[in-house]
Symmetry: C2
Subunit: 185 residues, 2 copies
Amino acid sequence: MATTLQFITLAEFLKLPETKPASEFINGRISQKPMPQCKHSRLQLKVCNSINQVAETQKIALAFPELRCTFRGRSIVPDVSVFAWKRIPFDAEGEVENSFQIYPDWTIEILSPDQSTIKVISNILHCLKYGTKIGWLIDPSERLILVFLPGQQPLEITGEDKLPTLEYLPLNLTVTQVFAWLKLG
Amino acid sequence: MATTLQFITLAEFLKLPETKPASEFINGRISQKPMPQCKHSRLQLKVCNSINQVAETQKIALAFPELRCTFRGRSIVPDVSVFAWKRIPFDAEGEVENSFQIYPDWTIEILSPDQSTIKVISNILHCLKYGTKIGWLIDPSERLILVFLPGQQPLEITGEDKLPTLEYLPLNLTVTQVFAWLKLG
């Protein structure tokens, strides 16, 4: 994860062109996310789809991959961010806006090899501090998911343990099911 | 961090010769700690010394580097483990025992490059689950310290923030002070 040491303001950062992978603005610094690899991409897609499968038709919530969320001094791009339907900002045409100025209700990060786990956890804690109800940190290499809830000790979820989600989502997933998505065919 | 996939029991693991770096037994698996590099060694020594400076003479507590702690199904070797004086097991000669069968009151881990942060956090959560009062996760590359307290959301401590410690220890440290130890001379 490349980090430039040059200090700039959030407003200056937001004027810069988007990069690929996305760059985040954290504590006055720009930090580029790692290039997603195959496991990461697969999990990101499957997590989004499984959430939207139970949330989109009924207009309960919506999961977005790589959506920029700018709030409370940071501009972050969670791997998956989930918003309660009524909080999604639509523009005049009824289309969803390109970038959100609000915290996600649920932030999901999938660790890549060589990514700074602490930086990712720091973003999850930033979200929880300002309103996010739940954070997942998925570690494909250790086959475990850390679940962050506001004001609580993180939960280490493995195997057949049921994963906590947003309480109003009818989503039942175990860690085993999540990592089974890595087995193709 | 090398991990063998062979499943063995804790009793079998404890009969194996010690390795260098130390191996840990976590969820039925053996996992060897990374070879400590210069920043890691320096921080480990200075953290131990600064704790013992306020804790040893008055027999309040004692900090140990690389002490094996075996409890509740795991055998772990925190970078620094701190025990309240009255909990330290002494042998018949009044000497401290070689390996402890109890949880540390305070566990401190210092991240190495390429180390699995999640595995380290998992060990800290294991400690907190079974009695440990506080855990520190020091990240030299991000210059921040995550502080884990039982039943609470982890705290991200940076800069001039005062670091929480065991409440009965008269130790005042900021994150800046801790990382200043990396500047030699």
